[in-house]
């Protein structure tokens, strides 16, 4: 009996140790990998994953395009290297990426080696605070010249994307101020705040001091302001108190958020919004959508990129030009191929080739300038809306509202219901 008990205890201890051994190396691998160059990581990846299966999950399907590029790089070192990645890059629907990752990490069968994930709020509260996903910052990225480390390091950002205000210019109305988009009679086309949660993050971020100040400045410069709006803004001080927001100008942001939620016309995706705005019949329609979508319009008698004006590109435009959200690269704490994941992340964030699936198109910006391509002349004189003015312009002149996971997570608990209440009543 004693033997049986000691055997059982031994077995349990061994099982427990094997779990901790499995969990430990990923953190340890990351610690070591952060001190290695890209070439050293390639070597480690070859040793680890030759002939094995690589699975990952991402909000952007383009991760699938990076995998063969990485394999090509590794084969330059070892021509016999093989990686089985066919169909291994999954793109779950309906915000299920968080559930899928959680179950993969907490379950007994771990297959996900890395993730490309968006929605800083959920990344922070569901993945980072719980320790399910680990951050890896490549040495070459840290040491590269001109890298925008601030706000892009933890979690590591592979790209920042912008959603910008646009309007169909075939009508007579004009939009010269961020408040024009929420004046009476407007119904801007926008993906729902809950169908793509980064859109809700934008509304959270609006209450940050920096953007509240812009909202106030824009309101004061707005020719449409009147007593009704003044009263609403004043009244929003009570809401700010309820929501625990203490910024000096936060009432301006809340008023803008409230009007936006009341008015936006929910659509299933940014692509159909773009197609709509490009149509000659969509007179006086506006939208807030991913900038790069306009590259997909084919010129016909009915549709043209020239039917669209990018609001912030107008010289006399006042206020925010849209918002920026980010794609983060992270490693599950149970990653079966952590070295390969580190090599892939380093490849994507420190080389032009690795970032090319995103970098080749306008509207997606790596914090590492080495990776970015110039799109400032994509449209030439014929289609000026396609001439991307670049990350720096958008952040400073275009005044994009930039997602900050920590801030979103800190206000989402209270603000989410407030927003849902307004949306439900529309």
């Amino acid at each position: 009996m004693k033997k049986m008990v000691s055997f059982a205890v031994g077995a349990m201890l061994a099982a427990a140790m094997s779990v901790s051994v499995c969990a430990q190396p990923v953190e340890e691998v990351i610690r070591q990998a952060e001190e290695m160059s890209l070439q050293e990581l390639y070597q480690k990846a070859i040793e680890e994953s030759d002939g094995k299966r690589f699975d990952a999950v991402g909000n952007s399907g383009r991760g699938q395009i990076v995998l063969p590029l990485l394999v090509e790089e590794l084969q330059k070192i070892d021509p016999s290297y093989r990686l089985d990645y066919e169909g291994g890059w999954q793109q779950p629907k309906e915000n299920k990426i968080f559930d899928q990752l959680t179950e993969d990490i907490e379950g007994s069968n771990h297959i996900m080696s890395m993730t490309l994930i968006q929605d800083g709020n959920q990344v922070k509260s569901k993945m980072m605070d719980t320790g399910l996903l680990l951050n890896f910052v490549p040495k070459d990225w840290r040491e590269a010249e001109g890298v925008a480390r601030d706000g892009n390091e933890n979690p590591l950002v592979v790209q920042t994307l912008n959603k910008v205000f646009m309007f169909n210019n075939q009508g007579k109305k004009t939009w010269k101020n961020m408040w024009d988009f929420v004046r009476d009679g407007e119904a801007p086309l926008f993906m729902g705040v809950n169908s793509e949660p980064i859109n809700k993050n934008f509304l959270y971020m609006m209450t940050d001091d920096e953007y509240a100040a812009i909202a106030k400045e824009a309101y004061e410069a707005w020719d449409g302001k009147n007593k009704e709006y003044d009263d609403l803004i004043e009244d929003m001080k009570l809401d700010a108190e309820d929501l625990g927001l203490e910024g000096e100008n936060v009432q301006y942001s809340l008023a803008w958020d409230c009007l936006w939620c009341e008015k936006y016309n929910a659509q299933t995706d940014d692509a159909p919004i773009c197609n709509t705005l490009a149509s000659a019949s969509a007179k006086d329609q506006t939208g807030l959508l991913v900038y790069s979508k306009i590259r997909n319009i084919e010129e016909t008698a009915q549709s043209s990129v020239n039917n669209i004006t990018i609001a912030a590109y107008q010289d006399d435009y006042v206020g925010i030009g849209g918002f920026a959200y980010k794609h983060y690269l992270m490693i599950p704490k149970t990653s079966p191929l952590p070295w390969t994941a580190c090599a892939m992340i380093a490849f994507m964030t420190t080389t032009r080739e690795g970032f090319s699936p995103w970098g080749k198109d306008m509207g997606g910006y790596s914090p590492n300038p080495v990776c970015n391509q110039d799109h400032s002349k994509d449209g030439g004189d014929q289609f000026p809306a396609k001439n991307d003015r670049g990350y720096d312009w958008w952040i400073h002149q275009g005044k994009l509202v930039v997602e900050d996971p920590a801030y979103c997570a800190s206000v989402s608990g209270a603000m989410s219901d407030w927003i849902d209440g307004i949306v439900a009543d529309r």
Partner: protein, 640 residues
């Protein structure tokens, strides 16, 4: 010492004999095994979703309320009543019409979607019964023209993925003036601007779902009309009863079971529909479930539980109204007489009317799908106003190098797209697996229940097998999602096959049960006397005789699986099967891809249905109704 032994042996022997006798009958063994398996596969996923309502979800509202514990600790925490108490008792302060108001949480997240779901389900039932029922009457009991053609085209909306009609509705009726955005076909070509309530919300959702499910009503009600004893109506006529009175007092009561069956089937299906309300902008329990998942995961599961309760309610109603034996597709009369009502001049008017209606719901979508695949931009009908040249394209079909064409979003043309091909393969594999499993299990249930008609266990197995059908698809999907995630089989074919099989067993079991009920026991008894083993009796006697109904029992899960989205959308990534891929393209506004896939799907289903029909006589219609002409022909053969 020997007495008690003898006593025990005396007590055990009859029990042993009874057990031996019980297990000597294959139907008993099968029922026992299937009862246990189905109870686990049906009830366990449901229990997991109930459990999910009392779990803590890091990053969700229930976790915020437990802020004292760190997020890491929350992962291990199991029980909380917060989701229930918060949803039903708490309030939030928000803005309604820009006024500050304090509302209950339920009024923001529950009551409106619940009301909308119930209204949509009721209107979809009414619409399906009226449209399908009238059509069934005209086809089976009158001298309407072109019956064969109309009958074939009428079931097209059921064959197509349900949201394709919703997409069609949008591209026809949307307008800058009413729904915002660009003009649809009616506005741009005809200059006809319809009001907003027509373009989005309760009305179009109800109409689209009614059109999608009208073939149900047609097949179920038509099955009874087709076999109804005309002498009953003739007797009324001889007694000088007015036509309307005959209809109300004689005809209608006879089709009442079929109407009730339609209500039962359509109500839960409409309630569980996600894509139609999603695309036509109505907030229902299904859409709310998906929207709440990010920040209120536990409460989203409560919505799924509420949808399931509707399923249970419908099951109880079904049981009450069918008196234990769930004969919802029963053909009540078998008359040799059938006289057709002469419509006179109305015959031509009604033929024209239904030709137009079926064209709109059956042919037009197919034409629109085909057209969409040649448009340069989604919904860009420039070719209608400016000619074909430069305003049409083949790029959606034949592009091999997506970077060279605008608007392809990195996708190759449909004919060369490996993702679409893989998704088709996945769907085909899933449909075949579900059809084989559901069809076989359904056949066994049908057979065994018909052999043990008075057994309570058989009745239980029959009900538990039917239960998933009465559950809204999204609720079943949500239950299997929670179950699959915790079992580590999310995004695997195993989970999809499991969910599909459980959901589609009712198709096969009902079809099989109805056909087995008509088999005379004498046929098998003769074989039993000759000591022919059970499996041989099944393969050589039972299955060949009822092969048409049995094949229909396989065909229906197969067809339904091919175009199912709501059930599977929570269970896998978007590239796994063709409907999730299709939905992805629709979401992305890549209507050319989704239309092309739809076109291929519809043609594929029609070809398979026609082939199976030609080879075996089985078809979708006979599968749903479990009745029809084939049945009538067979009855004379099977009664011994």
């Amino acid at each position: 010492m020997s007495k008690p032994k003898a006593g025990r042996s005396g007590f055990l022997k009859p029990v042993q004999n009874r057990i031996r006798t019980f297990f000597s009958k294959p139907q008993n063994v099968i029922l026992l095994v299937l009862g246990i398996v189905l109870t686990i596969s049906t009830i366990y996923p449901m229990l997991t979703i109930v459990r999910d309502t009392i779990r803590l979800h890091p990053g969700s509202i229930d976790a915020s309320a437990n802020a004292a514990a760190s997020q890491k600790e929350l992962l291990g925490t199991t029980v909380t009543g917060y989701n229930w108490t918060n949803l039903f008792t708490d309030t939030i302060t928000t803005r309604v019409g820009r006024r500050r108001v304090t509302q209950s949480v339920a009024s923001v997240y529950l009551w409106t979607p619940l009301l909308n779901s119930v209204l949509v389900s009721v209107f979809a039932c009414l619409g399906a019964i009226l449209y399908g029922g009238i059509f069934a009457y005209l086809v089976t009991r009158t001298d309407l023209k072109w019956k064969r053609y109309l009958s074939s085209v009428f079931i097209f909306p059921y064959i197509m993925p349900q949201w394709t009609l919703a997409m069609l509705w949008k591209s026809l009726f949307n307008s800058n003036a009413a729904s915002g955005g660009s003009d649809g076909l009616f506005a741009s070509v005809l200059g006809l601007y319809l009001p907003k309530w027509w373009c989005e919300g309760l009305f179009p959702v109800s109409v689209v779902l009614a059109l999608h499910y009208a073939p149900f009503a047609y097949i179920l009600i038509g099955g009874i009309f087709r076999n109804m004893d005309a002498s009953l109506e003739e007797a009324a006529m001889i007694l000088n009863t007015p036509g309307w009175k005959t209809f109300l007092r004689v005809t209608l009561p006879l089709v009442k079971p079929a109407i009730l069956s339609t209500v039962l089937l359509v109500f839960s299906s409409a309630m569980g529909s996600y894509p139609v309300p999603h695309y036509l902008k109505l907030n229902t329990l299904s859409t709310q479930y998906v929207e709440m998942n990010a920040s209120r995961a536990g409460q989203a599961s409560i919505l799924a539980v509420i949808m399931m309760l509707f399923g249970f309610l419908i099951l109880i109603i079904n049981q009450r109204t069918t008196s234990g034996r769930a004969n919802y597709t029963t053909v009540t009369g078998k008359s040799g007489q059938r006289s057709l009502v002469k419509l006179g001049a109305a015959k031509y008017v009604l033929t024209a009317l239904f030709t137009v209606l079926t064209m709109m719901t059956g042919i037009l979508p197919v034409v629109m799908f085909a057209t969409e695949t040649f448009l340069p931009n989604p919904g860009d009908y420039s070719f209608l106003t400016h000619g074909l040249s430069g305003n049409t394209t083949l790029k959606w079909w034949v592009t091999r190098e997506p970077a060279a064409e605008s608007g392809m979003y990195g996708q190759k043309g449909i004919l060369f797209n490996p993702q679409i091909l893989n998704a088709f393969k996945g769907t085909f594999f899933l449909a075949v697996a579900c059809a084989l499993l559901a069809g076989t299990i359904g056949l066994l249930i049908g057979y065994c229940v018909s052999k043990n008609r008075r057994s309570k266990w058989a009745a239980y197995v029959n009900q538990i097998a039917f239960l998933p059908y009465l559950m809204p698809s999204l609720a079943v999907g949500a239950a299997f999602f929670v179950f699959g995630s915790s079992a580590g089989i999310y995004n695997t074919f195993l989970l999809l096959i499991l969910a599909g099989t459980v959901k589609y067993i009712p198709f096969a079991s009902r079809s099989a049960l109805n056909s087995m009920m008509q088999l005379s026991g004498e046929i098998e008894e003769a074989a039993i006397i000759q000591d022919i083993p059970w499996w041989k009796r099944m393969l050589c006697i039972v299955i060949p005789i009822q092969k048409t109904s049995i094949i229909s029992g396989y065909l229906l899960p197969f067809m339904t699986c091919l175009r199912e989205l709501t059930l599977f959308m929570l269970l896998c990534g978007q590239g796994k099967i063709i409907t999730t891929m299709l939905s992805y393209y629709d979401e992305m506004g890549l209507y050319a891809f989704s239309s092309g896939i739809n076109l291929i799907l519809v043609v594929l289903i029609l070809i398979i249905n026609t082939l199976v029909n030609l080879l075996t006589g089985a078809s979708i219609d006979s599968g749903i109704s479990g009745s029809g002409e084939n049945r009538k022909k067979k009855n004379s053969n099977c009664s011994g």
